[in-house]
Structure formats: C-alpha cells, structure tokens
Symmetry: C2
Amino acid sequence: MKIWAIANQKGGVGKTTTAVNLAGHLVKQGLRVLLVDMDPHGSMSAYFGLDPDSQEKSVYQLFQGNGTNPGTAATEILYDTGIDGLQLLPSSTALATLDRQLGTQEGKGLVMVNAMTQLEQEFDYALLDCPPLLGILMVNALAACGHLLLPVQTEFLAIKGLERMMRTLKMIRRARRNTFEYTIVPTMFDRRTRAALDSLRTLREQYGSELWESVIPIDTKFREASKQGLPLSIMAPSSRGSKAYEALLTSLLTGRDKA
Amino acid sequence: MKIWAIANQKGGVGKTTTAVNLAGHLVKQGLRVLLVDMDPHGSMSAYFGLDPDSQEKSVYQLFQGNGTNPGTAATEILYDTGIDGLQLLPSSTALATLDRQLGTQEGKGLVMVNAMTQLEQEFDYALLDCPPLLGILMVNALAACGHLLLPVQTEFLAIKGLERMMRTLKMIRRARRNTFEYTIVPTMFDRRTRAALDSLRTLREQYGSELWESVIPIDTKFREASKQGLPLSIMAPSSRGSKAYEALLTSLLTGRDKA
Ligand SMILES: Nc1ncnc2c1ncn2[C@@H]1O[C@H](COP(=O)(O)OP(=O)(O)OP(=O)(O)O)[C@@H](O)[C@H]1O
Ligand SMILES: Nc1ncnc2c1ncn2[C@@H]1O[C@H](COP(=O)(O)OP(=O)(O)OP(=O)(O)O)[C@@H](O)[C@H]1O
Ligand SMILES: [Mg+2]
Ligand SMILES: [Mg+2]
C-alpha cells in the first residue's frame, strides 16, 4: 500500500478537494483506495454524508490506546462510501481535543503508522487529508506517508506561507529516519488574473522540479460535486477540474513526480 | 474599546480578509484599531510584512505568564503597521504548540480578556483573527469578544460546517456568563453560479436576521492587496470588495447587526 499525505497549514487551499478527486481517479482504474479524514472539522466526512459531531467510530478511536490496551483496530472504523473500491476512516470533532489531551505524552507520533500497517493488505493507496494546523495529527500523517502533496493557491501570501511550511518540513524530515518525497500542486488557478500568472512564475523559479508541471484550474463544478458527495471523476469526468486531477495522477504514477 | 472576533473552523473562508478590510474602513473614519493575529500560520502578520517564524514579540508571549510571573504586557508586543491608526499584535508559529503545552492547565481561557483590558484605553476597536481550529486560541477569542463575525462561503459543505460551528458556539455561550452577539457574513459570493444562489437562499432560510443582509462578492483585487500589504479601503477604495466591506461595517455600526 502506498501512503500519500495531503497537507498545508494554510486553510482553504484545496487539500480535501485534492484527496477526494485523486481517490476518484484511482478507483476508476480499479484500485482499492482508503481515504483518511484527519481534520477535526471533518469536511471530507461531511462530503460523504457523515456528521463529525456524532461520529462514534472515527480516527479519534485510534489515538485512545495506551501501553496495555491497544485501542480500536483500524478495520473496525472503516466506512463504506458506496463508491466501488473507496472506503473512508472518518473524522470526529473530538479530534480537536487530541493536542490538549496528549500534551507531551511520548509515542503518540506513530499511531497512524501502526493503523496503516494494520490495513496495508486491504488497499493499494491510502490518502491522508490533514487539518490546517501543525499539530499531533499532521505530525502523524507525515510520519506515515511515503509521498506528500502540498496544494498551494497561486497568490502572493500563499507562497509566503509555503516558504514557512517548507522550513517546518525540513525539520520533520530530518527527525525521521526514512524520509518522504513531495510534490507542490498549484490549485484554484485563474488564468485571467495577472497575480496568478506572476505567482505561478515565482513558484516555478523557487521550486523547479518539486512543483508539478501543470495546474488545477478554478472550476465551479467542484462545489457542485461536494453537494452530491461524488468525486468529479464520477460526476463530471470531462470537466476541466476532473481532467486536471487525472493529469496530476498520471504524473504521480508514472512521470517525473513518481510517488 | 469594542472587541470583535472573526472565526470559523473551516479554512480559507475569508477570516483574515474580513478582519483586515473592516480595520481598513474603521481607520478611515479616524478610529484607533488593534488587529490581533491569533493564527499560528500568521497570514495576517505576513500580510503586513512580518515573518511568524522569527517573530520574537507576539501573542505567544501573552500566554507565557503564570501565577507569580504576569507574562509580557500586551503594550510591549504592539507592532505599528505604518497605516495611520492601525496597530497589530503579531502571531508566531510557536502558537501552534500552545494546546499541547497548556494541556489541561486551568485558567488559560482568560489570557486574551486580560490582554484586552490592558489595552482598552488605547484603541476604539480590537479585531481578533482566529485560526481554523477549535482550540485554546479560539476559546480565548470567544471569551474576550463582544461580537463574533462568522465568514461563510456560499456553498453546500460550508453550510454544513456552519451548522457544526453553531452547535459548538451554543456550548461556549452557555459556559460564559456574559454572552456575545454574532453576525454570519456570506463571503466569496459568485453570482454567476447556481450553487451560490441556492446556498444563499438556504442560509437566509436557516439563519434569518443572524445573517448579514448583503454579501461580500468575489473580487480578485483582494489578492493584489495582500501583496501590497494594504487593506482594499486604501489600495482600491472604489472596488466591489472594498465597497462591500464598507457596507458591512455600516451595518455593524448602525443597523440591524449593531455590534
Ligand atoms: N480548483 C478549484 N476550483 C474551484 N473551487 C475549488 C477548487 N478547489 C477547491 N475548491 C473549493 O474551495 C473550497 C476549499 O477547498 P477545500 O475544502 O478542499 O480546501 P482545504 O484546504 O481542504 O480546506 P481546510 O483548510 O478547511 O481543510 C471548497 O469550497 C472547494 O469546493
Ligand atoms: N471576496 C473575496 N474574493 C476573492 N478572493 C478572496 C475573497 N476573500 C478572500 N479571498 C482570498 O481567498 C484566500 C483565503 O482568504 P483568507 O486567507 O482571508 O481566509 P481565512 O479564512 O483567513 O483562511 P485561514 O483558514 O487559513 O485562516 C486569500 O487568498 C484571499 O485573498
Ligand atoms: Mg480540508
Ligand atoms: Mg486567516
């Protein structure tokens, strides 16, 4: 099983949209895919019709084990999305209390590594959707992943935010023995505005081959898809947005960004 | 001094943009305004040219006091934005560690209340920009504010997220003796898409007078303004975005949503 994390401390850049739509294209190729919602706000779980406020079986249970009691097994919290080949480990709003609860307790950085090991025979890909904060959940996702995807909006402040994120990543990668590769993905690209074109050029200059060679364009169909609870690859496969994520997936599976 | 908090657990809905642009219009009326960046990712501080990774004087210092040692005084961390009448209490990435550090320590819920009391003679308005997470920082902002602004994107999942946010707010308002009023502000409204029109109608049906009667439209000038480090009221006062925030401010100061 390959494990991809999707993270950025900046809010609203398209993390959940990226995870759901890449998963949508992976299952179209007949692959078995696990989506993991690690955001206490639970937009991905809401996307599939769940309510994170009342979700009894969630990623939160995975963190409740301790030395003697192993905690809930990941297989017990799997939720079937109804889409062939696509399962979900849902979020719960209780995840927002983890940082306070776990405080400086050791050893909570490997909960997701253990959970993914339990499921590695069941799936071909696992996509971990992170909350917009550097806390215990993102640290767990970065410890478990083999490849990191960084959605970034093509605008000035987002590029400044990415610089900060990269500094944090260097620290985390150094602390891990086996490290992960990463791909920066420009999202919500509006080719009509000068600011977007300038920002894309700046990103290309600064990050070179770490940046995916294309972009995800603005497409209002993403919002409609979230209402239907379907990835765009199923709801509108010939839309601009769907084709862009298909191209991203191809480049992650075969090309320069091989993940 | 009136204290307004701007919060929503969903990322990227326009919290920072709302805080900066309301402040921009307040100072145009000759009022003295304090912006407070409580987001560890520090987009507001970056907007004014600061780097949250290397910010020695920040909101983080306010939380370092304990029983015997009062911590840094808020007046010592004030930063002058260079815009007449507008000062900033900057963010630091160290804020991301607060939840883990403070864990279940009592009494850390009133740090912002105390800091605002120290500054209440210096300013007419204080605008607290929250991170996209229900943690110690948002709890502090909600304890200190007299009025809460909730930016919400006009789309399906954002409305579901607002329902969860409102449930959380009911809990927090019940725990506080003196409560706060709130106004829901539709942001990034794109009148060309059907999904936005439908969502706005749903919001109006669900929230009635708790929803501001107008909307903040999509305006690409917001992105340009963030590059210049200026509110739109200064950079492009006759733009759609600037006029919309001016109308919101008028309704908060005088009309139905009086804050
Ligand atoms: N390429 C795109 N074109 C248009 N809208 C988009 C695009 N990508 C995402 N969106 C919309 O932007 C909003 C934010 O996207 P999303 O929720 O995926 O971001 P996020 O980074 O996961 O946010 P959070 O920080 O809250 O987790 C959603 O309403 C989504 O439908
Ligand atoms: N009305 C608008 N029209 C167009 N772009 C907008 C509008 N409001 C905000 N934006 C842009 O959308 C992005 C997100 O806005 P902003 O950073 O203010 O959201 P936020 O809720 O503060 O995000 P976070 O959850 O990370 O704190 C920014 O690039 C901003 O310039
Ligand atoms: Mg998300
Ligand atoms: Mg913000």
